[in-house]
Amino acid sequence: MSAEPILSVRDLVVEFRTEHGVVRAVDRVSFDVFPNETVGLVGESGCGKTVTGLAILGLIPSPPGRIASGSIRLAGRELVGLPESELRQLRGRDMAMVFQEPMTALNPVFTVGNQMMDILRRYKGLSRSQARAAAIELLAKVGIPAPAQRIDEYPHQLSGGMRQRVVIAMALSCDPKLIVADEPTTALDVTTQAQVLEQIVRLQQEFRMAMVLVTHDLGVVAETCQRALVMYCGRVAEQADIGPLFAHPRHPYTAGLLRSLPRVGEAEKQDLAVIPGMVPDLLDLPAGCRFAERCPRRDARCDGELPDLDGDAASPARVACFHPL
């Protein structure tokens, strides 16, 4: 890809102070997102996906958290260290976040229309009637039936899928350059998830946005992203285009995850491949590779040394492993 990235994250480190010590939730994560591209952040619970997303938006709760080091550039502009007032401006206009639970972004005491019009008037300087027309158009775009009526309803009157569409409409309302969507369909049923994902893909193309899609579901990644980062214990284990990532995973963790998935339509009743053991505690990490205890390819070097991603930011695929597949 030759264009300039919209988002450029370099060596991002995010830490939280806890009772038991400092937790490094994100440890030297680097990646780029280009215009009109969806990049997946995938991995198991607690691996640092959400924290990475929050950091991009400048939403790490502080205290207890802080961006300890690294750089986050949005369209060339450094975000780390910007005062909150400027970040807030950027969040309305240039980047937006969609959360797993739509009610975190909706105010239960205002109608959907009021909340959308508020944003449109504040950031786009529209008049009341212009804002209302624009809000109705956005609701139609995200696939809400009868948007001219729905606009006057309160969030509790909508189903989960509709609420998430409203949140997406709100995120889109200022034509952001970047959307970070954190498990946007995880709380939804599979049929609703299919509807919402289809909308997200369509809108992303229509608005030519860059998107970071956080999910634990490899199926969702395969269907919506062009590229993905597989995270493990706060670090990027592997990063590649979707095709090669699923066809020839190079990190033993990625390979293990893909093998352990039951798949619709091809199950003979036989045991699933298993990744033994479990994810280590972030407060009690091994000295070497964080996956070592569970890895079939481990050797002495893996126990003593922490593997970094190979290549550089321009490499099409990167893996953090001494003995990749």
């Binding site: 198991e44 619970s45 039936p145 189903s159 899928g161 509709m162 049923d189 599979v190 049929t191 609703t192 998830q193 299919a194 509807q195 994902l197 289809e198 634990h216 579901d217 490899l218 199926g219 969702v220 990644v221 395969a222 269907e223 979707i242 095709g243 699923f246 066809a247 293990g256 995850l257 893909l258 352990s260 998935l261 039951p262 798949r263 619709v264 339509g265 199950a267 009743k269 045991d271 699933l272 491949a273 298993v274 990744i275 033994p276 479990m278 994810v279 569970r294």
Partner: protein, 324 residues
């Protein structure tokens, strides 16, 4: 041979109260006429969207919530009319595992106490025998006896789920209702617990009612699969057949909606309009007709009968006018 479990036209309705006098103003028809049989040592998977009645059905079968009507026969004994004492005795044969391994274990009981409790409640064995049984059960679920004196918070989700399973196994049940047993687990541990369940079934001959919203997981563990919609089973078939040749339009849509972890296979998706209607006010005729891409006139007023469409011996039932 009598089947292990036979469920006949089971209903569970919840009254909705309203107004000043808290009178019953409506009924939530959470389970609305479900019938099936489950053979010894087999697994019936139940799938369907949130709120379709899967958990309620599981609880009504175990009599954790008394059904509104219908029959549940466990090894030929009708459970819905049993008094408390006889039901208590029957409980030895049927157990439940929950989704949330965090909430279903008491935080103040050690692993040993947790697994031992059902043995004590049913007065089984001497203290020494119980201790031995607890150790044996831990071995079955693949945990070391070193963990006996530890508390639930010291374990991961997958380990807690194993403890819950060991407890469910304590009384040698014939039937286990597993309600979303792996939904709270991460992918890498989910496979461990699924394999454990498959092994228990194989080696101990336990039958499972396996409830999950995850269709790929259900296919993997089940012999038969039932698809629920608004309190009813709309299709019931051998797992392979259901996934390869779904006959009900809802099953087709549900299967097509599952995201496939393979970027070379673009899903041919049937996107359903609208949401599941409220079980308080199910539509007349076919419960699916408001969203069905193949709806016909008759569907709007006449409930479709359950018909047998199975070829070659195995039963395959569908409730849809297309097949009536």
């Amino acid at each position: 041979m009598t089947p292990l479990l036979e469920v006949r036209n089971l209903k569970k309705h919840f009254p909705v109260r309203g107004g000043l006098l808290r009178r019953i103003v409506a009924q939530v028809r959470a389970v609305d006429g479900v019938s099936f049989t489950l053979e010894v040592g087999k697994t019936l998977g139940l799938v369907g969207e949130s709120g379709c009645g899967k958990s309620t059905l599981g609880r009504a079968i175990l009599q954790l919530q008394r059904p509104t009507s219908g029959e549940v026969l466990l090894q030929g004994t009708e459970l819905t009319t049993l008094d408390r004492k006889r039901l208590h005795a029957m409980r030895r044969s049927m157990q439940i595992i929950f989704q949330d391994p965090y909430a279903s274990l008491s935080p103040r009981r050690t692993v040993a106490q947790t697994i031992r409790e059902p043995l004590e409640v049913h007065g089984i064995g001497t203290p020494a025998e119980r201790e031995q049984r607890v150790e044996e059960l831990l071995g079955v679920v693949g945990m070391r006896t070193a963990v006996l004196d530890r508390y639930p918070h010291e374990f991961s989700g997958g380990q807690r789920q194993r403890i819950g399973i060991a407890r469910a196994l304590a009384l040698d049940p014939k039937l286990i209702v597993a309600d979303e047993p792996v939904s709270a687990l991460d992918v890498s541990v989910r496979a461990q617990v699924l394999n454990l369940i498959a092994r228990l079934q194989r080696e101990m001959g336990i039958a499972f009612l396996f409830i999950s919203h995850d269709l790929s997981v259900v296919e993997h563990v089940s012999d038969q699969v039932g698809v629920m919609y608004l309190g009813r089973i709309v299709e019931l078939a051998p797992a392979r057949e259901l996934y390869r040749q779904p006959r009900h339009p809802y099953t087709e849509a549900l299967l097509s909606a599952v995201p496939v972890p393979d970027p070379t296979r673009k899903a041919r998706r049937i996107v359903l309009g609208g949401d599941v209607p409220s079980p308080m006010n199910p539509p007349p005729g076919c419960p699916f007709h408001l969203r069905c891409p193949k709806v016909m006139d008759i569907c709007r007023s006449v409930p479709p009968p359950v018909v047998e469409v199975g070829a070659g011996g195995a039963s395959h039932q569908v409730a849809c006018h297309l097949h009536a």
